[in-house]
């Protein structure tokens, strides 16, 4: 294995990108990711907050402490992972993290790994998805992605600009990926439209250092109110409104998540009203 440390975007040429390494390093060790060339992209990904633009290299710890970003993002960072992981992990990396589905992590030949079955749907799935779970029941673990989705963030990569929702795709028979990033594409920056108020609420089974059972972000802007959820679908999940929860398709052991989501969405909307 070799390690490249480019100092300009022009030098990028293949390889596996690594920033904080909190996700890539364990997945490399497990053989879920494989690479001959690691590319340390810290030298080319911007970091820091500049007005409504946030460098994708900004760590979660920096965002947690930043008064320049909307409350939902700050709170999502504050409640994400552990202090050390927040010190290491970058915003861009967080958006690209993989599911915590134990079958996927333990390399069961599941659909997300290109296989024929969703082991979780048939097996142990108490922490899995309540939406879009018919092909793959994995739950997306990013608090930050839900917050940014509610905040209607736009993503700038080294190739294009896109809405955050378009960064994600549901895995299907033909394509098992959960993001639309192409090989060699690197997230550089996030841009946030103006927002009047935003909140992030998180249900987890420890008070700190746990992935979301259900995370609820809500943001109000001139364009209206957006609600996005973490931990409920294979990708960050946008709700048109609380009534969308009636259309949830929980698995036998994930029905409880619908109740939790309902309560948290209601609270988030109430909190937004209180922030008026």
């Amino acid at each position: 294995m070799e390690l490249l440390r480019p100092s300009s975007l022009g030098e990028l040429d293949g390889g596996l990108f690594v920033h904080g390494g909190t996700e890539v390093v364990p997945l490399l060790r497990d053989g879920i990711l494989e690479a001959e060339t690691l590319v340390d992209v810290r030298g080319v990904v911007p970091s820091g907050v500049d007005g409504n633009r946030i460098g994708a290299g900004t760590t979660l710890a920096e965002l947690e402490a930043s008064s320049d970003v909307p409350a939902a993002l700050r709170e999502a960072c504050r409640l994400a992972a552990s202090p050390q992981l927040r010190n290491m992990g970058s915003l861009g990396g967080n958006l690209l993290q993989s599911t915590r589905c134990w079958y996927w992590r333990l390399k069961y030949p599941c659909r997300l790994h290109g296989g024929e079955r969703c082991h979780a749907a048939e097996g142990e799935h108490r922490e899995h998805a309540i939406f879009a779970n018919d092909f793959c029941a994995s739950a997306h673990p990013s608090d930050v992605a839900a917050a940014l989705l509610a905040l209607d963030a736009r993503v700038r990569t080294n190739r294009r600009e896109l809405g955050l929702a378009d960064l994600y795709r549901l895995p299907d028979e033909a394509d098992r990926r959960t993001t639309t990033l192409e090989p060699g594409e690197l997230i550089l920056e996030l841009e946030l439209p103006p927002v009047e108020a935003s909140v992030y609420l998180k249900a987890m089974d420890r008070k700190r250092w746990a992935f979301p059972q259900v995370g609820v972000a809500a943001a109000r802007s001139a364009a209206g109110t957006r609600i996005a959820l973490a931990g409920v679908a294979p990708i960050p999940w946008l709700l048109a409104g609380p009534e969308d929860l009636d259309a949830a398709t929980p698995l036998p052991r994930t029905a409880w998540k619908v109740d939790v989501a309902r309560a948290l969405v209601q609270r988030a909307l109430t909190d937004l009203t209180d922030l008026r």
């Binding site: 070799e2 202090p83 290491m88 008070k207």
Partner: protein
Amino acid sequence: MKLVVNGNEYVVDAPIGASLASILRERLGLTGTKIACNEGHCGACTVMVDGVPVLSCITLAHTVEGEITTIEGLREHRLVGAFVKADAVQCGFCTPGQVVSAAALVAANPDPTTEEIRHAMAGNICRCGTYPKIEEAILHWRD
């Protein structure tokens, strides 16, 4: 690879992919840094890079640019005495990592509240459950 650890410079030859924790422990003999999960979940391997606590077990040694501080560099820190005095140690396997996290906390915030301590220390798992004593040690670290 060149590493600066506790103010000393080391030149180490190791394959790409080696974790900082393994280099510290096996190559530099700095075994105060413990490996308990080796996948970034427990905090036992916590060291500071430029004063910031990170998980050395999932840090690629070759990507480290800043100055590393391990428990060996904190042996004279007042927190050590505070941990001893508060009985904030049982089996002691997680304790060096706890001290490193605590040292970074009090450097940034010399008078942390209970809530701030709990927020900053939540990434260091202690199976013996010394948490109340750790909290006490950090609250009174300068006494």
